[in-house]
Symmetry: C2
Subunit: 327 residues, 2 copies
């Protein structure tokens, strides 16, 4: 097991002095965010603390299995916290509406593995070599010697599995595997988790996938794949935002593709872009930062204002240049 760094031990000291804690995460939470939030919440509760586990948005249907006790909740007003702990949230903005409800606090701790993290906490533990925030929460729980229950193991396994694309992203390290193995030993139900997460798509998502395959485009000699999801696509398929998770991987997986891009119409004139790179020298974190976003070298995103076709043209131009510079 990797040793917890000094910052983690300092965080543990602060946690041990707290009695009312709020664990928060980023908007549109994914498996790593929800799993890390819930695991930390359950661990703190086991130590007798009063813990709220808040997120602006609910868990996507396929990730609800983790929350057996209904702990994952929208924020509510009138609370004072000794400690607010943000996990997996790269910036304070990413907490969304939750931010307004956690003002009355002693300290804010920021635990995250995104290299673009803005260090917005009073104490910041940013481990960009970690493949998931789940691995950091695991390190914290191990260092504290808090009990690693089956339920916590399920949450952390889900966090790690989803944020590594089922142990396929290059960020997956030896420590990732050793941690996952230990979680399985502690009772994480790998078969159940993988069925829930990877083998269960709603009919609306299947209709959306049909649109993906019918509508995606290839350019730059098939090295760039891109896809638009408009509000009308949701209306016509009955799909929700939750159904879009992992959609981009379908165009990323096309053999000659080096960069995949998903354009999502958030509202007229506002587009969210998601980027995936398969080329080690095409760094989509840097590219997303040019548009006010960020993420990792191989996976990033941004929100861009402007006419859809202008956004598309600007981004494709930058991607094309990045690819041509490297090949």
């Amino acid at each position: 097991m990797k040793e917890a760094p000094k910052t983690a031990l300092k965080i543990l000291e602060i946690i041990k002095g707290a009695s009312k804690v709020c664990v928060v995460g980023h908007i549109r939470p994914d498996g790593d965010c929800i799993g890390s939030q819930l695991a930390l919440t359950l661990a703190l509760e086991s130590q007798g603390m009063e813990v709220m586990c808040w997120n602006q948005d609910p868990a996507p249907a396929k990730l609800k299995f983790m929350d057996t006790k209904g702990r994952f909740q929208p924020p509510s007003s009138g609370h004072q916290f000794d400690l607010v702990i943000a996990v997996d949230a790269a910036s304070y903005d990413r907490l969304g509406e939750v931010a307004a409800f956690i003002q009355d606090r002693q300290k804010l701790i920021n635990i995250d593995h995104h290299p673009s993290n803005t260090r917005y906490g009073d104490i910041n533990w940013i481990a960009s070599a970690s493949a998931s925030s789940g691995e950091m929460v695991y390190q914290l729980i191990q260092a504290a010697k808090w009990p690693l229950t089956k339920e916590i193991a399920n949450c952390l396994f889900t966090a790690i599995s989803t944020d590594t694309g089922s142990f396929q992203y290059p960020s997956t390290s030896q420590a990732t595997f050793v941690t996952a193995g230990h979680l399985v030993e502690k009772g994480a139900n790998l078969g159940m988790i993988c069925d829930e997460v990877y083998q269960s798509y709603s009919l609306s998502r299947v209709r959306l996938l049909k649109r993906v395959y019918n509508q995606f485009k290839l350019t730059e000699n098939n090295q760039i794949a891109y896809l638009w999801l408009k509000k009308s696509d949701y209306a016509k398929t009955g799909a929700t935002r939750a159904d879009t998770e992992g959609l981009i991987d379908h165009i990323r997986a096309i053999e000659p593709v080096l960069v995949a891009c998903l354009f999502e119409e958030l509202e007229p004139g506002v587009t969210r872009i998601s980027l995936r790179s398969k080329h080690p020298q095409v760094d989509v974190d840097t590219i997303a930062r040019q548009f006010g976003g960020g993420g990792h070298k191989a996976a990033s995103g941004a929100r861009i204002e402007g006419k859809p076709m202008t956004v598309q043209r600007r981004l494709i131009t930058v991607l094309r240049k990045a690819i041509r510079n490297q090949l």
Copy 2:
């Protein structure tokens, strides 16, 4: 690390006395078979042995990256072997045409993880609790203290990853994760391997997937999903049989679906059916046997003669009855 069992140590003793060895595997080899064969071949060569690595069939395109030295070959006549080692082959029949070329041998060793293994070797090491044969070859190499080179690590990681569905099948154990982690530490290029194996679909396969999403049908209240692949689908998409691997999983993964069925036109009047069940009481092995085929409870197949629409009607009727009997 799991200790190598006594049989493995006995096998090591025999290997150490051999100088000309042939490593064989099963027909239509998959990632576990090819990875295990190549890893063992390279390890034995590092010990100064003369080694042939034979398989009746070539490696599928997406698995060729493992064979950097062109060691994986069809069999040839005129060889005498001190030792033939079969890996990942559940029965002697599964060696296919290779069997005729390995008659002149002192001993046959059988290393496999399939519970159905027929124990056809002079010495048999059958570890049905192992998620892959790759894990067994890893144990052997570790017990022998042979060097675990980067190339061997790549082969073994691919073997383990593919035979666990990327660490998703319930057979995946703590030992599987610990082994995978050690292979990554020894230089297995996880990013490259997963890109080759999981993230690299030919354009022809993508065109075939588009047809899957446009053409699949749901019936029996969305509990049965089925799909036809006609010869014309291959012609129109440029896809080959190799491109159909895993296609059925796309319709199996639809949430309300209990049984998925793929109908493939082999020639006019001859259809291959593939069945997948997600319901523990709907046993598609039994169903396939009614049509002269078989397999496992959750995955089976058969070849059926007759007009396509007749075949479809007969099968769907049986599936419908099986589902209604259980719910």
